[in-house]
Subunit: 424 residues, 4 copies
């Protein structure tokens, strides 16, 4: 840990700040909603004196969120929610240009990772901001002393929200949480449009493969799977969907995709992408049936969706042919290619969700924080949805930034709908 | 009312039965789920002795539902839920070939319409089956004597369910209802795929218009609007979406459509279709801005989505140029065309939802009836969703009929998901 | 043959004229290019005194062409190019409202058909206008006396142009022909957009089948096949393409379609449409493999693309279930459905190409006629393409009518392109 | 110039060979047609002793072509057709692993570039292989001594073919050329599918921009423009097309795109891509109307499609914000972003055409070379198309590699088509 100009930090290279500033600026150009909120925060200072501890991917988008919170008067400290996603340039720019303490080094080891969480917690946050519940878990397990000062926390991910709900149900959640993940303007957009595009992007960067004419297997037809299937078709691929849910399978079929079991898809697929949230979706029996040249990637949750140990077990060698692209030479001579070591391909080989998508997620973060501060007294130890008005307001601001106007109900229409929905 | 071979009926023409039989057969070819249920019903007879009063569109698909209920042992009587949708050939075939009492004449007047409802109720149904809550309304208002014998009812439409929920909340609903409309296998499929295709079909039959290159305005981006927008784009149209909900508007935009207010769309649109459930969505100020040649249709709920009186007010003449296509000559010389008198264009000018879609809706009807009969004692005076297992079973049967197999969770996967969702 | 108000005719029912007038008006609303030409023709009278003999489908679009020629000063006489496509209302309106002699009765027998051709020829045309080379064939075989007066002819179809080219090569073509079929603004648009949409339209009218989720087999990936494949996908179908040309097959694959041989497609297809120009594309071995319920249609040239006699040979009964939909009961119990008796499904069960497409085809007819009259002296006994300027002018007029403006080369750009293309 | 193991070369770094070998292997996995040809060449040695001088982009795909020619017995020497596209790893691997002389350094200056061309020519090629006519130009202008030994040349690009045709017409072309560019399996596929995908890829890598919902302006609707428009729509963008040709504009419109002039598009576009082959397509008046944040890229021919000097003239500063992304700050405060300095974005920021596309282009190169050697005596000093059989054979091999089979004409069908096309 060091200090620069009075700002505590532990980052890789302060001299990258200028480069980081350009990168943050570029993201800012696609984050008009957050910019609008920032301008209002500057004027209204709704977070004056509020200490925010944020454990998020240290990226250009997070930098713009941190700037926004600071503009509202908050004292923000940032650590990384993943050791590999930190952009060192951004970390430097936050410290140098924005006087925001950052504790994050790309490639940091496990000990450093937790030390950095500790550093953020040492500031005594009023608000915790999580991407995977690391802050809230640490506080509940070993820093319970901090709880008295905490107003609440926000959570960005599905995984985190599931854990927090489980804590609530077990009666052990000790402060209120807003499930930012569940805002319509968050999950509708980052899952479908963000994951859809960035997965294609990641695959193209890793392989430079022509997608047109390829049998492209999408395992899972949830929101991510739908986005991905649509984009893969948009690139000319022939998309095959696998599912365990019959209703979703039927939708995929009526959306014009072929639907089959993974075992059948394994025989015809050229590219396979898992987006299920489950494990071993592509497994040993499937590897055995694949064509030589098959390419595997994961864009779901963890690197267990493809059973990599099983793949290794069937292979006689493994070599990296290009960054993020490994060849497994099977004992029967076939070659199977794995992208990004089975980790999220849009992060491993591309840049994650585009800023335009994070704009809405992080607008939810900013407004949820403001809401918690304003309503500190009335909030209970529960997981709350983001209030509907905040969600709609963000959609409206986004549309504004795109120059799009929508209609409002006339008085007569509102009356008609009201009457009708009341059944009279 | 007459009797033929001991079957009571009031229909237009018994001699159409043979033709009706062919039509019913053809629909049956696209209703494999209902056929599967029918075969089981024949074996198990779960509706033995149950009197079912059905107020539905008297179409080939309804005929296949009625046959299925009868195969299960039910005594079915049918009247029309709309005076214009009755297929007289089908009515005849039901009476002649299936011994099912039918009270429905295409084009019947209001008095006959209600007399027919009365005729069905006179049979003293145990189960009411509604498409717009007409049976349940009549019973609650003027045939309360029947309630003692009633096990429950089903409701096919959004409108009906809204009314019934209002009745439940007002504490006046006197028997249990299953909201068939809300089954995933019903509304996901008939709204998106059924309305989507059949609206395009209706417009093409009414106009023979080339859709490629046309500015095609879809008012409303609910499930129907999404289906329609997708199909219109699939025909080469350039689709514009109007909305009042900012989140939906944003989705439409990210789905690649132009989004604007009706007032702006009015200036550029070639074809306008309302699918909102609201009234006067296209109104006087919009008519005033439209290009000469603009074509208007409704595929939402009622014929009030387009303000037809206002259109008439602005016009100096109205003539039918082709069936279901009227020209309004505006006082400034422009011509605006209205399809199907503003009524649902997919019914007015095409054949409504294809049988393949109704297969699932009516499978829900059949299985919901069976469920109510089996669980008659435990049901309360509430609006119930169709049980999730029924819904999924129907999806599974549909996939089977399409030759599609889906995966099942392995034990290991189920354990993983369970653990994960519990946050451990 | 009779006379009405001095106009010779042989049509089914003069009293249909008012209805025909409405229909012609409606088509006119989608034929702005022809209308523009008509207005110019009225002012300039470029066809003053020219006798035009037209053997075309007697439809609303042809009526608007005939009106346009007449507006230019021509004396037009019309007979049918197909006994089944005549719209009797249109025939009546042409006689009554436009004083144009028409010799066409829907359903006319062969003898009448040729008598009608004779009636048109009796007028001694200066210009022949053919849709399948019937006039030009008759003249060359049995009315050579007329040739001295003939300036030239136009031909609308691929088939006709092939025949005429063969005549030219054999040295027997005795007057100049303009191959309207080959204008870009004709074949690009009617094949892709016209056939694409109207084939889908025809299938929906004949079957009311839900296309979403169906395996839709398109035999042939020429311009018609591309249009159809694109539209079928747009309706949610899963499209399979069959081809004999490897380059086209590769394109289909890269366009995201599955490509296989008819024999393989036969096993999985739900709907099959031939658009090849060849014969027995779907044949006995294919029928034997098809799933029960398979639906067959042709949208290519003649009713030989599907081997119907072979289908009959395999079946034990044939019945019409709906108009244009026949069931063949196979001896093994499977049912195969044939649409429109294997004739062009977009004509048999829908209304052929939309007026908006015919607008450009017939604008080519009108301007080609004008061109031939103007250049009568310099034309040789050859098949000519429509001059490029006419073709481009029609595209420009169409764009104008759609309110679309395109860029023009700046002087600098023209110089750059010129220099570059000259390789300097 | 140096020598390694007896192989002459001038490259940046021999130690990169191992890395280059992996990269070449990876491309090889997507080049099955070339691999099939290579296996045959190894057996048949059709190029034994033939000296081939190749001036191509020194990439993994070119390496696989060079290996194939060498396998056929040729003595190949390679220089770069562009100073910036050389992959130094590939150059090293060619020298070290394949004993092929390479004269190419990434970033080489103009003098070196021409020295490298000279080095290849010094080997006295029998066949020249060009990507832009550099070898053939140099030979005709200053190395006429070589012409006596030359059998012929091949040309990969449109630009080159235009120049060579101009030379032929001027009567100055002194040896035969095969226009590989014009093979169907070359230009159909690399323009539509290659440029389409790789342009999207380049834009995403340069910007990480969410394309969904963006107004994406495609200037030019030739094959490249079509491919790009289709892919951009596939990513959820709202595509606007600009054109100078009215027929193409009409096609774009019927394909569902908005069509307008560049001047109008300038006001609404978010992203602009030129694919015209022309100059100053986006020019000063357009920059003046653009929204702040507009992004410009070129995927056409040269970096003159966007008038960059004019853009600079309107701006007060220019800074690189990310690699290949520059911000121009306009004097009125707007920001306009230029990608890849206006050079081909798919090369500047992505990896050019995917190997799968180059597979077919380079199969044409290999087979055209074999053809010229075999037919050396009969070829004249002309630009020849690739023979149709070669083109079709390549399509067939590609389909084979994809596991796709197509139909063949039966004898009966061939007879039918023959008869029909002869008009009998």
């Amino acid at each position: 840990m060091s200090t620069s100009n009075g700002v505590a930090h532990d980052i890789n290279d302060l001299t990258l700040a200028a480069q980081g500033a350009d990168m943050i600026d570029w993201a800012d150009a696609s984050m008009p909603v957050l910019a609008t909120i920032r301008r209002r925060f500057e004027a209204e200072r709704p977070l004056e004196g509020v200490r925010v501890g944020a454990c998020l991917h240290v990226t250009t988008e997070t930098a713009n969120l941190a700037r926004t919170l600071a503009a509202g008067g908050a004292e923000v400290a940032v650590c990384a929610s993943n050791p590999l996603s930190t952009q060192d340039e951004v970390a430097a720019a936050l410290v140098v240009d924005h006087d925001i303490p950052v504790f994050a080094r790309n490639g940091e080891d496990n000990a450093t990772y937790y030390a950095h969480i500790g550093a953020v917690l040492d500031a005594g946050p009023h608000i915790t901001m999580d991407d995977g519940a690391d802050l809230v878990s640490t506080i509940h397990s070993s820093r319970e002393d901090l709880i008295a000062d905490i107003i609440g926390g926000t959570e960005e991910t599905t995984t985190g929200v599931i854990r927090l709900r489980a804590m609530q149900e077990a009666g052990v959640l000790r402060y209120p949480i807003m499930a930012v993940n569940e805002a319509d303007t968050k999950h509708f957009f980052d899952n479908r449009y963000g994951t859809g595009q960035s997965t294609i992007d990641g695959i193209m960067r890793a392989t430079n493969l022509l997608l047109a004419g390829k049998n492209f297997v999408v395992c899972g037809y949830g929101w991510c799977g739908r986005g991905l299937a649509s984009r893969a078709r948009g690139m000319g691929a022939n998309v095959i969907v696998t599912e365990i849910d019959p209703t979703r399978a039927l939708e995929a079929s009526m959306d014009g995709f072929r639907v089959m079991r993974v075992a059948e898809a394994a025989e015809v697929g050229d590219v396979f992408v898992t987006v299920t949230g489950n494990k071993s979706v592509i497994d040993e029996p499937h590897f055995e049936k694949m064509k030589s040249g098959a390419i595997l990637a994961n864009s779901g949750h963890f690197d267990v969706e493809i059973n990599i140990p099983a793949l290794e077990g069937l292979s006689t060698s493994r070599r990296e042919m290009r960054p993020m692209l490994e060849e497994f030479l099977m004992s029967d001579g076939r070659k199977i290619y794995l992208l990004g070591q089975g980790r999220l391909i849009n992060l491993a080989s591309a840049e994650g969700h585009p800023a335009s998508v994070m704009d809405m997620s992080f607008a939810n973060q900013a407004l949820a924080t403001e809401y918690m501060v304003k309503n500190a007294r009335s909030l209970e130890r529960k997981v709350y949805p983001v209030p509907r008005e905040i969600d709609r307001e963000i959609a409206r601001l986004k549309l504004d930034s795109m120059g799009i106007q929508v209609d409002s109900l006339t008085g007569e229409q509102a009356a008609y709908l009201g009457a009708w929905q009341e059944g009279t």
